[in-house]
Assembly symmetry: C2
Homo-oligomer: 203 residues x 2
DNA sequence: CAAATGTACTGAATGGTGTTCAGTTTTTGA
DNA sequence: TCAAAAACTGAACACCATTCAGTACATTTG
């Protein structure tokens, strides 16, 4: 029966249409400033229709988060691919920070926005896992080859991620005003911060 | 002329009444979920009245941010006061993280919430400066006494702050799900992360 | 003291938000 | 062709920050 297959296809096409519009608007204006009404306007459907395909605005957020984690993983694969795991680790740090500063609204909904409480647990977290795994693999290789002062994989990953997330999020939220950093120096200083940190944990 | 003085006093009392109600509700329910209407209800005035004392909700945020930075500074003075600057630095890190985890809504409005664009620049940032200075002083002493691998005060402060902010904010935003950390282990792991980090930059 | 001025406050109105659901339109299958 | 099912609509609900004409009270002036 071909009809139910077409129905299925149309359903996923509609979901895709909504997701694409949402992604575009989230990127341009941010999650908070993008309303369901505006998305509906953009795709020329009524607001109610969106709720036939997504339970609520949060579900749309998860959908886009998945895409975003994938984008970050792609960036890692493209820019952090040195054979030397130590170099790769530094590349990852710089890629992460650049990604955050160049895609502020995306970074926001990936890591800063309040994660809704009605978490579906098992769904949507696949891409995030894969991206995190890329860090774990790199770090594990560094540890195995005894290149770092770090011995615990979990603890090391937590430290590295916290450092780069801290750098990006304090910047995006303008909390470094207190340090009076010139905007043009910013990327240089952040680069130094990452290199400096990795250097200090290198044996 | 005593009347204008009384007027003045009444005005500051009213501002204080509003600020106190706002602080209480921000702490309990968070900034986003606290509406001007609810604050007005709590102090038994109409919503419009609040706008006679504060330009908008953002100004109320700045007011409470100032208080919060003061609270953090107090915590530093109480818990991070060792004569050994290195010990003091570790104490500061732990105090910062505890403060964040124990006062999630407060931490949120201090460091995570989107800082409104219409920043008044010169006002309200005093308390933040003082608190940051406490870190700078400690770190400078460490550098002067050649206790650390860190040589640049700015860069070092940026690194340390980013690390602890990263730890706290990833936790508050539930982004460490991917690491599957048990809730009871959390504080221990965070403690280790801080000690580990400071140890790795210690000469 | 009475009238005029000034100040404090109100609360309805404006234009937004996410979400729901009765009702309409379109598509399907017999 | 026609009833049932599916898709879609848009007004309605309960919120939100903010504004402002109008009211009530306090103070100053004649």
């Amino acid at each position: 029966m071909g009809i139910s297959e077409r129905k299925e296809r149309e359903k996923t096409e509609m979901k895709e249409l909504i997701r694409a519009a949402a992604l575009k608007m989230f990127l341009e204006d941010g999650y908070a400033k993008t309303s369901i009404r505006k998305i509906a306007d953009a795709i020329e459907y009524s607001p109610g229709t969106i709720y036939l395909y997504y339970k609520d605005k949060d579900e749309l957020l998860y959908e886009v988060q998945g895409l975003a984690y994938g984008k970050l993983l792609d960036a890692f694969k493209a820019e952090a691919n040195s054979d030397d795991p130590l170099k790769r680790l530094i590349q990852m740090g710089k890629t992460y920070v650049s990604f955050g500063l160049e895609n502020p609204e995306l970074y926001d909904l990936m890591f800063i926005i309040r994660a809704p409480t009605n978490v579906d647990e098992e769904s949507h977290k696949d891409n995030g896992d894969k991206t995190f795994q890329y860090l774990l693999d790199c770090l594990e290789e560094c540890i195995n080859k005894k290149l770092l002062r770090i011995t615990d994989l979990q603890l090391g990953a937590l430290q590295i991620w916290s450092m780069v997330h801290g750098l990006v999020s304090l910047n995006l939220r303008c909390r470094l005003k207190v340090m009076a950093i010139e905007q043009q120096e910013l990327k240089v200083i952040l680069s130094h911060a990452i290199e400096n940190y990795i250097a200090s944990v290198t044996l």
